[in-house]
Amino acid sequence: MTFEPTIIAFLCNWCSYAGADLAGVSRFSYPTSIRAIRVMCSGRVDPALVLEAFINGADGVFVMGCHLGDCHYLIGNFYAQRKIKMLKKLIALTGLEPERLRLEWVSASEGARFAELVKDFTNQMKALGPSPVAGEKPDPNILENLLAAKAAVEDFRLRVLVGREGEMVDEGNVYGEKVSQEEFDEIMDEAIAAEYIRNKMYIMLKKVPQSVKELSKRLNIDPRNVLRHIVILRQRGMVAMAKVEGTTPLWAALEVGGR
């Protein structure tokens, strides 16, 4: 049997969902791969929901909104765009192909475009093959990475950066200081990498207490960086020293008020 991808599509009520309706009214056929979840606005698509879909084995996630400038809620799709931009960078760190996540704009009058996009994305996913975390035997490594990514987007820092990007770049802070898009992207890239690694470390330490050296080896990053992250995780009350083996401290994850 040929591989049939499962694609989850988040469609905004006003444009892309209506575009999908119009594809139906016009009888434009497209592959059966897609399962639509209706949300009021593409801006509603919390990055954690996208990762939840990948963790559960979606081969692709398609987010669609109104064309920029046409959002029923004026600017929700700009926020969607920023979220997806951040997510793609984050997903690239996990070993899952970032192309599995796609954002497109479809208006209520673009039934043909909707059908074409579904066809195109389905073909793209067919060429890519099943998600490494789909099916009975998900790749444990990538799965763990995705869980770390999800924890990262549930945390304060990335969310605040995404939520304030427009403001920081276009309007500047309360002192009227603006950052350029490049500067912002740099800050963002650094934050994505750091938050991802910290959450990855947290998940690893949850399984078994480990030393900085062990973590450094497993994650393939400089022990000094590992130590820096440990310090921050400790400040956040997420890890603590479990015991000392010889002269090496072993770190363990603390239970944090999970939601």
Partner: protein, 574 residues
């Protein structure tokens, strides 16, 4: 925290929609499958769930099986959700404990060639809907008061008609026209097809009626500067001659009309002064025969060219402008009447003289001696100047397959009505969409042709698409009655789907306050975010962005969406 919830008892109603669904999806199989799903206590199929019988059977089943959740698997929620929610409410169930699975637009109609896969997909869609509905919570819609005052933007025939109709029902109306005078396009038109009445007389009567009505305030030379608020409670700022006027408005009608396309560069327009558009011809005709004689001495031969700049391959001008065929016939007959010895040619691609009057109109024109010559898009006519100042038109006759040269005194180009450039700005202020062609775009082409998706704002006349006076007036009367409904009811239920802040999680960072485009979130005295519910439109962007994840969306909670994701992938999070 979570209250003790009663166990969900879900009823599933799978619709055949005649053969629309049933012809491609195995409905009985979907029903059997639905019965196996968790929480489902009843499942049935209906020929038309939206019919009176279908609705009755939902209500009965709610009573008989003590259902506390309902799923209908049929068509799109964008058209049918209100109906089915109403059925739930009638049976005593909170209407938000309902979910539609769209197995028609999103399934049977797009997978017609793959019935097995379509059936499997329909099952998945039902499973998603059952998973979601099981977690839905009852919602209440807050009530809002509606100002019994309407704003009509645009003082053409459409705007004046709406204004008079609403004023006649006792509502106060502000009619805002940016030109110094009312009347719109018709001020430039000579006679009206199909009756031959003088446009100035029609307009004159309307203007008098509008100006004399005690319930209508006419603001000419006035522009809309800003629109805030929502149905029932819009706050509109109008700029009139440098002065700002603030209005409190219940409903808004967009009747801003359209202008004609100026075909610069086509068929010598802009180069030869004997090449005119139909509007320019109308303006000369208004001066009577003497005005024509003065400008062209005497008309021996006139050629009108149809579809100039319309029906193009691609938007924005891919549409048929609908009125030009009749306009050309009308003006051709006027010229023929004034100059019986002249030849009048209408060079066309297709004569779109639809409906009962217009085909007759076309026949009369042929009988009167107007000559109709067809051309194809591939070989359009060519217009050049003759040494004596007259024009030469070369036509490739599509039916006879011959080339003809016509020397003539006047070439008239039938160009489409096009939207105003700045309709975009108005559309942004009102938060209503424009279509690909730049005209205002209705909520649904068949079912809600004069509503916008945004409540309390309506569209009529040529602001929506090219149409003639009769059609504009019908729509204008239509929007007047649409706008009258909320104003007559006086109280409305607002959106129940709003955001909710969990105070114990909010750190007061203010991200949501900056994100909300409606200014619906403010800080309270403690510095904690607070939602002003009637202003919240329920987009959910604040919740998806809140750094503390302190905001949830009513009816679109994370857990409800996650249930759908899990239902699709049939795997519970690792």
């Amino acid at each position: 925290m979570a209250q003790q919830k009663e166990k969900p008892r879900v009823g599933v109603f799978v619709c055949h929609c005649g053969i629309n669904i049933g012809g491609f999806v195995n409905v009985p199989q979907v029903v059997r499958y639905a019965r196996t799903l968790p929480n489902v206590v009843h499942a049935e199929e209906n020929i038309y769930t939206c019919s009176a019988e279908g609705i009755a059977s939902i209500k009965e089943a709610i009573k008989e099986h003590d259902l506390n959740r309902v799923v209908v698997a049929s068509c799109t929620p964008r058209t049918h959700e209100p109906l089915f929610r109403g059925a739930c409410a009638d049976a005593g169930l909170n209407p938000y404990l309902f979910e539609l699975a769209n197995i028609r637009e999103h399934c049977s109609w797009v997978h017609m060639r793959e019935p097995d896969k379509a059936t499997e997909k329909a099952k998945d869609l039902v499973r998603m809907a059952v998973a979601r509905v099981s977690l839905l919570e009852p919602q209440e819609e807050p009530e809002i008061d509606v100002m019994p005052t309407a704003l009509v933007i645009g003082g053409g025939i459409s705007g004046m008609t709406s204004a008079l109709c609403l004023a006649g029902q006792g509502f106060k109306v502000y009619l805002v026209e940016r030109k110094p005078e009312l009347g719109g396009m018709l001020k430039k038109i000579y006679r009206l097809y199909p009756t031959g009445e003088e446009a100035s007389r029609v307009i004159g009567d309307y203007v008098n009626a509008v100006m004399g009505h005690k319930n209508i305030v006419v603001l000419t030379s006035a522009n809309i500067k800003d629109v805030k608020g929502y149905i029932g409670n819009f706050e509109v700022t109008v700029l009139k001659e440098g002065e700002e006027i603030k209005l409190k408005i219940g409903t808004i009608i967009v009747a801003t009309g359209a202008i004609e396309f100026k075909p610069v560069g086509l068929y010598g327009y802009g180069r030869y002064d004997r090449v005119l558009t139909q509007v320019e011809l109308e303006e000369i005709l208004k001066g009577g025969k003497s005005a024509i004689d003065k400008r062209f001495f005497k008309l021996q031969r006139v050629v009108m060219i149809q579809c100039v700049g319309s029906r193009e391959e691609r938007p924005p001008r891919a549409y048929c402008s609908r009125i030009c065929c009749m306009v050309a016939i009308k003006n051709a007959m006027i010229i023929k009447e004034w100059y019986p010895d002249s030849d009048v040619y209408v060079v066309y691609q297709d004569m779109q003289t639809y409906g009962k009057e217009y085909e007759e109109y076309h026949r009369r024109a042929r009988e009167a001696g107007i000559r109709f010559v067809s051309y194809t898009k591939g070989s359009p006519p060519e217009v050049t100047a003759l040494p004596n100042g007259r024009l030469k038109v070369v036509v490739y006759h599509a039916l006879l397959g011959i080339r003809r040269e016509l020397d003539c005194d006047l070439v008239v180009l039938s160009t489409p009505l096009i939207p105003y450039e700045d309709a975009k700005e108005l559309s942004k202020m009102l938060k209503v969409p424009l279509g690909q062609d730049g005209f205002f775009f209705e909520a649904h082409v068949k079912l809600r042709p004069i509503d916008f998706a945004t409540d309390g704002i309506y569209v009529c006349g040529t602001a929506h698409s090219p149409k003639d006076v009769g059609e504009s007036v019908s729509q204008a009367l239509g929007v007047a009655s649409r706008a009258a409904i909320p104003m007559a009811v006086k109280r409305l239920r607002a959106e129940a789907i709003t955001s909710v802040v969990d105070e114990s999680l909010c750190s007061g960072c203010g991200t949501c306050i900056r994100i909300c485009p409606y200014g619906a979130i403010q800080k309270d005295e403690r510095g904690i975010a607070k939602v002003i519910e009637v202003m919240c439109k329920g987009c959910g962007t604040c919740g998806a962005s809140c750094p503390e994840r302190a905001i949830s969306m009513r009816h679109f909670k994370d857990e409800q969406i996650i249930a759908q994701i899990h239902a699709i992938l049939r795997r519970v999070a690792a």
